[in-house]
């Protein structure tokens, strides 16, 4: 008697054989992926909004062109990911509906405001830096279309991080006002970035299943620690500081120790009570509703021309 489908599936995963759209998969694997990939896509799309605020206010034509290119990449990343989710049997419109109705979530980080130009640099360096740490292991995730989308995303993400750091580097060598603006942006984004990695491992009861299915390969705490170690060194080049009095190199663990994260804040932001949750969703819904006539016109045009052929 042969082994059952679920065991065969796990064997493939264990042998690092990728799962493709038409392969058999457990319902829970499919649903976990639909949720994770679509929410990842929503994050890319909503992530354009805090930056869009600064396109018309960029300090130079060069910075404006860079910002536009970055935002265009993010639209592309959302599209790669939506396409990957669609291979699992959910439609694009359903995913949009879930986002616009508030049923689906997106990354907590995009519910914070972008108050000054320096926030554009801080987002590139810190937010995209944190995203890269998470995204690189996802290039090896067990679901083929998701892994391929992530490879594409990672190739483009490096530019986002580097332009952010470079933009802050310029400010850090500028006037007193520019230096202060740079430091204040870092202060604002540091803790929300640490929260972006998700709750601590002992409060993530489902990590084991996602690890076993190789959807996820590193835990939240592992990646968060890696991020702290990386940024604590990089910030020295900017001559700035991180807003954490407990941040200290630990000779024993050979890692940076850092202060306590305010998990209540994360919980509130996830539940919709962050500083900009409402504003972001209103902007998304408005864009979707205002674009309806364009979608309808394009469909009507296509229908008319297909009849003429």
């Amino acid at each position: 008697m042969g082994i059952n489908l679920e065991e065969q599936f796990q064997q493939k995963i264990d042998q690092e054989i990728k799962i493709e759209p038409k392969d058999w998969m457990p319902q829970k694997y499919r649903h976990t992926l639909i949720r994770q990939i679509s929410q990842h896509a929503h994050s890319e799309v909503v992530g354009m909004l805090p930056e869009g605020n600064w396109i018309s206010r960029a300090p130079s034509l060069k910075r404006k062109a860079i910002l536009l290119a970055k935002i265009q990449d993010e639209a592309g990343h959302g599209l790669y990911l939506y396409s990957a989710a669609e291979t699992l049997g959910i439609s694009r419109d359903e995913m949009y509906e879930q986002l616009h109705s508030g049923k689906a979530k997106y990354s907590s980080i995009f519910n914070y405001p972008t108050l000054t130009w320096a926030d554009m640099g801080a987002i590139g360096w810190l937010v995209d830096g944190a995203a890269i740490l998470n995204q690189v292991p996802l290039c090896r995730t067990s679901y083929g279309p998701y892994a391929r989308a992530m490879i594409r995303v990672c190739k483009e993400e490096s530019f986002h991080q580097r332009q952010g750091f470079e933009s802050l580097l310029v400010l850090s060598k500028g006037t007193e006002d520019q230096k202060r603006m740079c430091q204040e942006a870092i202060n604002r984004w540091w803790w929300p970035c640490l929260m972006m990695f998700g709750p601590p491992d002992d409060q993530s009861p489902n990590t084991i299943q996602s690890m076993q299915w190789k959807i996820k390969r590193f835990s939240n705490d592992e990646l968060r620690q890696k991020f702290v170690n990386m940024i604590a060194e990089q910030i020295k080049i900017l001559g700035m500081t991180l807003p954490d009095p407990d941040l200290e190199w630990n000779e024993e663990t050979m890692q940076y120790d850092f202060g306590k994260i305010n998990w209540e804040e994360l919980k509130q932001v996830i539940q919709g009570n962050g500083p900009c949750n409402k504003e972001r969703m209103d902007a998304r819904r408005k864009a979707w509703n205002d674009g309806e006539w364009v979608r309808d016109a394009a469909s009507a045009y296509a229908a008319k021309h297909s009849k003429q052929l």
Binding site: I34, L79, Y80, E94, D296, S299
Partner: protein, 122 residues
């Protein structure tokens, strides 16, 4: 105070209810633009290779979008687009029957034939 945080991973931020299980493919797709598959030739002399998909109202729009989405950094010099419904694929369950027979025909491979070392240029 006990605070309970629902699990979520990067790219997975939890949800109010299990929406993924609720979805019903028949609804909310009526107005959706058709899906297209995109193939790109990265440079002269190479095959077109599948790179991804996108939605567009017609072939012209699909071509414009493919250019914007998949070739922003010199990824290609030629694009093919095919409406996804026109692609036919084998059922993965038939893969064994379709592709296994090749395994027991090792005489199809040059290494099957043992020849003397003196034999050159072969």
């Amino acid at each position: 105070m006990k605070t309970f945080i629902r699990k979520f991973f990067y790219g997975d931020y939890g949800e109010e209810k299990n929406i993924a299980t609720e979805h019903n493919p028949s609804r909310q797709t009526i107005n959706e633009w058709p899906l297209w598959e995109v193939f790109i030739r990265s440079k002269q002399g190479l095959d077109h290779k599948h790179v991804g998909s996108l939605h567009a109202a017609d072939a012209t729009m699909a071509m414009e979008n493919a250019r914007d989405v998949y070739t922003r950094r010199n990824e290609g010099i030629s694009i093919w687009i095919v409406e996804s419904k026109n692609i036919h694929a084998n059922n993965p369950d038939d893969a064994d029957a379709l592709f296994d027979p090749a395994n027991d025909k090792i005489y199809r491979h040059p290494s099957f034939y043992e020849l003397p070392d003196e034999l050159k240029h072969m």
